[in-house]
Symmetry: C2
Subunit: 175 residues, 2 copies
C-alpha cells in the first residue's frame, strides 16, 4: 500500500512550503514575515530581523543560513515554550519582564548563571530597565545556543572548555 | 594658576554632557539618539538599539551598561574608522558591502578568519545577500570585542583559551 512521506500528513507542511517558496528553505526574512503574519507575538512587539537571524543560527547545523522543515518545527516548539514562560513571568501583563523576574525565568529554564553574568544579560536585553518579548526571545535563543556549543565541547563535563580562536569566533559571531 | 580639568577644553565635552544628562553617563538609548541626531550614518541606515547596546558593551569594562566621556571618545575613533572602511569597500555607493568585499574588509582590519567562520559572519549580518552599514558596524563591534576577550585570556599567545562556563556566558551574551 502507498504511504506518503510523513511531512505530507503534517498540518504544518503546507504552511512551511508556502513560506519557504521554491527553494524549500526558510531564510531570516521569510521567517520574520511568517512570524509577523501568523501573529505569533500577539500584542507583544514583533520579532526583529536580528532575532530571526539568530533563531535560524540556533538550529542551522549545516550553516546554510536557512531552515528546513524539521528545524522549523523544532523552532516552534522552542518559541512556544519561551512564550509561555514569558507570559508566566509577565504577571502584570505589561508586556515586559522586569530584571528580577528575568533571574527567575533564566533559573526556571535550568541555567545556572552567576549574578554578574545575569547582570550583563539584563543590561544587554533590557530597554528602560524592562525586557520586552523580542529581546527576551533573543536572549533565550542565544543562551540556548551558547550553552549547547559549550556542552558539546565539554565532553568530560568538567565545566571548562578549550577554544581555538577560529572556533571561538565561528561559534560566537553567528548568534 | 588655575587649570581646568582636561575635559572642559575638549570640544566634545559639551556635546557629551548634553547627551548624558544628569547622571553623566550615556546609555544605549541616549547613544542611539545621539548617533541619529548627529547624522553619523549619513545616507546609510541609522543604528538600531541592538547595535548601540553592543557598542556600549564593547567599552563597558565596569559593566554598568553605560558609557563615560573617555569611552565615548574611544567609540567615536572606532566608529570613524569603520565608516571609512565601509565607504572604501562600498565602491559603487550602493550603501551595502557585498560578501566578497566583506572578506577583504575583515582581512584589512587584521583579523585572520577561516572561510567557514567568514561564511557564518556573512550569513549573520547580511540582508538579501548584502551587508548594510548598521550590520557592518555591529559585526565590527562584535569581532573586536570577542577578539579582545580571547586575547586577554590567551596570555601565552598560543591561539587557544580555556573558558569556564560562566565566564564564557558572561563574555558572549553581552555582545
Ligand atoms: Ca511585566
Ligand atoms: Ca561604564
Ligand atoms: Ca556596494
Amino acid at each position: 500500500t502507498f504511504a506518503p512521506p510523513p511531512a505530507v500528513n503534517d498540518p504544518m507542511w503546507g504552511y512551511f512550503t508556502a513560506i519557504a517558496g521554491q527553494d524549500g528553505e526558510i531564510d531570516a526574512e521569510e521567517l520574520q514575515r511568517c512570524l509577523t503574519q501568523s501573529g505569533f507575538s500577539g500584542s507583544y512587539t514583533p520579532f526583529s530581523l536580528d532575532t530571526c537571524r539568530i533563531m535560524i543560527a540556533m538550529l542551522d547545523r549545516d550553516m546554510t543560513g536557512t531552515m528546513g522543515f524539521n528545524e522549523f518545527k523544532e523552532l516552534f516548539v522552542a518559541l512556544n515554550g519561551w512564550k509561555q514562560n514569558f507570559m508566566m513571568f509577565d504577571r502584570d501583563r505589561s508586556g515586559t519582564v522586569e530584571p528580577h523576574e528575568m533571574a527567575q525565568a533564566v533559573a526556571s529554564m535550568g541555567y545556572r548563571i552567576s549574578p554578574q553574568a545575569l547582570n550583563a544579560i539584563v543590561k544587554r536585553y533590557s530597554k528602560g530597565g524592562r525586557i520586552f518579548f523580542d529581546d527576551y526571545v533573543a536572549c533565550c535563543v542565544k543562551l540556548r545556543t551558547l550553552t549547547e556549543t559549550f556542552r558539546k565541547r565539554d565532553v568530560m563535563q568538567q565545566g571548562t572548555v578549550n577554544f581555538q580562536y577560529d572556533d571561538f569566533i565561528l561559534c560566537t559571531m553567528a548568534v
